[in-house]
Symmetry: C2
Subunit: 260 residues, 2 copies
């Protein structure tokens, strides 16, 4: 039986401990192609690079593990991997492990989710892993037994195109279990902090507080994480709001001369 061939990327950069931990956790079960940004790309979402050329360099190569650093965004890494660097079509695209959670609305800004999204848009099974700890020294050890098992479950699932899994791990040394969730509704507030350069004009840093809009709802990723559970949120890349689509059918119209 052929070993799975997995494409890994992230948004914290090729040297990030989260990615290195993921590589070590998955090596026993799969051949790995790693194409990751050459530095931090947090908050890069699904951005792509169109006005600059992309470059890559080989970081290391050994049987079953090839690692490349790319100048682009997380999504660029996936595109470069699939179009140029992959030996064959990967069995799955995996983003992470991110330093910091990508639950609730954070998924929209996340480059780690960008990796999984791009995999899913390319018709491949795709998963994003994140740990609720922004520290560069985050301890990924508790995730060790979960990673190969969840990847194997996701492989066995034969996920449909335009679908991926957003998997977040709580910050604790032992997890209370696993919950399959929906995305919690939350809102970032007080997001801009003004500073004054000693000799110049004002400048601003993006900061903020994330306010939960439904903290008591027990079916959300936020609730699961707050209660020590691994949160698995299935994501649909067909973002059509079908309910609103039906409600707005009265807006459809033909111009008087339509059909001519």
């Amino acid at each position: 039986m052929t070993r799975p061939y997995l494409l890994l990327s992230n948004d914290d950069g090729v040297n990030a401990p989260g990615l290195q931990f993921l590589i070590q956790a998955l090596r026993p079960m799969a051949d790995l192609l790693v194409v990751a940004p050459d530095g931090p790309r947090s908050g890069f979402s699904c951005s792509i690079t169109s006005t600059q050329p992309l470059r890559y360099r080989e970081v290391s190569s050994e049987p079953g593990l090839s690692v490349y650093a790319c100048t682009g965004t997380p999504v660029d890494c996936v595109k470069l991997a699939l179009n140029v660097l992959a030996e064959r079509r990967p069995d799955m695209v995996i983003g992470g492990i991110n330093h910091g959670d990508n639950a609730s609305v954070n998924a929209h800004y996340s480059g780690t989710m960008g990796v999984a999204t791009e995999g899913a848009l390319q018709g491949l099974p795709a998963v994003a892993f994140s740990l609720c700890d922004f520290s560069p020294k985050a301890d990924f050890t508790p995730l060790g037994p979960y990673l190969p098992r969840l990847v194997q479950q996701a492989l066995d699932l034969h996920m449909q195109p335009f679908t991926c899994l957003n998997i977040n791990f709580p910050l604790c040394s032992r997890f209370n279990g696993i919950r399959v969730c929906r995305m919690a509704k939350s809102r970032w507030e007080k997001e801009v902090e003004m500073c004054q350069h000693p000799f110049g004009p004002k400048y601003f840093w993006l900061v903020g507080e994330c306010r939960e809009l439904e903290p008591e709802a027990p079916d959300t990723d936020r609730w699961a994480l707050a209660h020590g559970y691994v949160a698995i949120t299935p994501v649909n890349l067909d973002v059509t709001h079908y309910g609103l689509k039906d409600a707005l059918q009265g807006w459809s119209e033909d111009s008087p001369a339509a059909g001519q």
Copy 2:
């Protein structure tokens, strides 16, 4: 009655003709706050700037119209506007008019959609406008009568939070009408073109061809645009795949010691 107060941004930059056309089309009906990137940010999706400070400058100010240029991404512009520059909470956030379509999967990469997404995540009604013409000299004239009417309809709709409209205009001098659509499934292929620097290593440009996966389906945005219709795709920012969530409930589990 108070005039509507609309926040406008884009991803082609503050000087882009598409944004300038939008400003002129909406001025008669609303007070406008324009906070747009100081240069092109196409394909920036929902990316945010966390490692660099943001700055802005006032481009112009007159009664009912204030224009600012920001060093950041489209989403940064919305955050800066809502937290620092807006006189009051806007009645709607509008992205565009983008030079180039944002239908089907392109919505995931689009900075114009990033603007609308950020508005919707902030609980505001939000709309993205795009024209299927990438040219800097694109002719926006046919959109003129549609823009204030669609914005008024969207205002009257009282859209729910986490919801926005992705509105694409076909490239033709007269539209056949309007269709409320779903997002078509398509896939980008042959996305990377290799080049060789005369004195250096290889480099790569993102290019590609977008292959339609369901070109005959008459309820998609792609079909509408191909047949001369304005395509309105309602978008849900709760990207939970509820069908898959139900199917995966067997993955939920409690660890032996859970609940202690």
